[in-house]
Symmetry: C2
Subunit: 325 residues, 2 copies
Amino acid sequence: MATDLPNILVMGPPLIFPDFQSQYSHSYNFLTFFASSLPLPQYLSSLNILPSSIRAILCNNMQRVPADLLRSLPSLALLVTTTMGTDHIDMPECRRLGVRVATAGGSFSEDVADFALGLLIDVLMRISAANRCAKKWLRSELPRNIPPASRVGGKRVGIVGLGKIGTEVAKRLEPFGCKIMYTSRTKKSSVPYPFYGSAVEVAAESDVLVVCCSLTEETHHIVDRAVMEALGKEGVIVNVGRGSLIDEKELVRRLVSGEIGGAGLDVFQNEPLVPCELLSLDNVVLSPHAAAVTSESFHHIMELVAATLHAFFENKPSLTPVMQD
Amino acid sequence: MATDLPNILVMGPPLIFPDFQSQYSHSYNFLTFFASSLPLPQYLSSLNILPSSIRAILCNNMQRVPADLLRSLPSLALLVTTTMGTDHIDMPECRRLGVRVATAGGSFSEDVADFALGLLIDVLMRISAANRCAKKWLRSELPRNIPPASRVGGKRVGIVGLGKIGTEVAKRLEPFGCKIMYTSRTKKSSVPYPFYGSAVEVAAESDVLVVCCSLTEETHHIVDRAVMEALGKEGVIVNVGRGSLIDEKELVRRLVSGEIGGAGLDVFQNEPLVPCELLSLDNVVLSPHAAAVTSESFHHIMELVAATLHAFFENKPSLTPVMQD
């Protein structure tokens, strides 16, 4: 299957990859490694492809890109991820090897913020629970057997990470009459919201925490036992960042025992595993890492990917967000 | 069971009625007619209560208050409904008989607007569908078998009825980057959104219709076949007004056949009956008339009810919204 076209190693396929593949199959030879159960060296030799022929990888957060894989491809120069985050990639190793990493940049920020609002309203106002309840809505069953809904207006919402997504979340919360506050690496002089130096401090003043920072060594389990304790037993947590931002085991324990009010979770610590204890709770809304999965964002990101690959193989400057660090 | 306390005929119990009843049982004799299967005359005589001893009714939208019932209570002077709408009450007859009708006024507007946003985001971004899907989120099942989500940003949203709720909906939609337009009885000079003279005209320019006008003879089936046709097959309808604002049979037909994109429905034509065809559709979010059912709004409304009853029986001016028309 060796061709004259540049080989692209596809490690994690974007949702609309089949369309993308057929559209660009005249330009690239896509190696669908994600569909194989072989280790990479055997996979490549089964196709009679030399590791040194691979200069670019296309990946997403469903598959890790570790140091040994990066080192096994001596000509690798570009890694394109269809995600905003890079926590699935060994970034220090990319830096050492001089591999450029192109991300989706802020392409998803607004969708993810919209989704965060959707989860927040859903958990507080019990929309998913109401949706299930509608099935058995018979007069005789009233009053409805779901936990009481709570008003969005007036809630104190603490944003953990006031980056692109967090800023969009804050903007959307304002007309709901929420009191917005945040914690972030640094205090932002451009926003009017109160800044707190740590997650535990912002949690102590909040009814709802919206977690939307990126996952780094520093932010791993940024929402831990102490933060949940500070948030209190009526508190609600919305997570549209990454699963490992939260001590999931502790969160699950508290949700089950009623030591926390509710949660809207789009991300989990061991995706695609969702803690099964959460599946039957009416104060929990779960979603399979879908916040950014709109038709519009995927078409946009695939255009970005195409532009990035084109620029790279034509030696043109890239128009898309590239992280060099 | 005749007492010296004023009799209050309770036709539809508010969700937190038991609390209310125990709190005010020293002031009023609550006749829990809603729990009886007898017709009103027999119910009253079974309690040895004269119809002429009843001066006030407490009701909600779960039970109609027809002319013959109103006429059977010769001393009736006050009807308190815990709802914003009065479509369950024979208002012309109340007017003729000089019965004052006290409503919840705007108490629920913000909650209902919040809920409308929740339904809108949920339907467009498939949150309820994602929530169901999370249960079977195993790697092997990706790509996820749910209809593609759609971005909220940039959507053209037509509001049907720019009253208290509609105005709150518009305010909340702005930071999402939606293009807002409306139809209403009259053009409002105070808002910047384009006005359309009819539901069909606003539908023709919209991706999403949010229906939040009150139900009157003029607005019955305001969203009819022609409006759905104009909205188009990708269009989404959110209804937080009343079920009969929409030709439900036509809507169900279109949802099932794919002639409309999706719906978020908190209200139905024949509550508590929910059309069973809708229960399995991933592009439909249903809720059992729960938009206003937050703990906060119910406590507030019960305070309003108490104040209204107190003012009435003490012959004081009412502090709560009362419709005289």
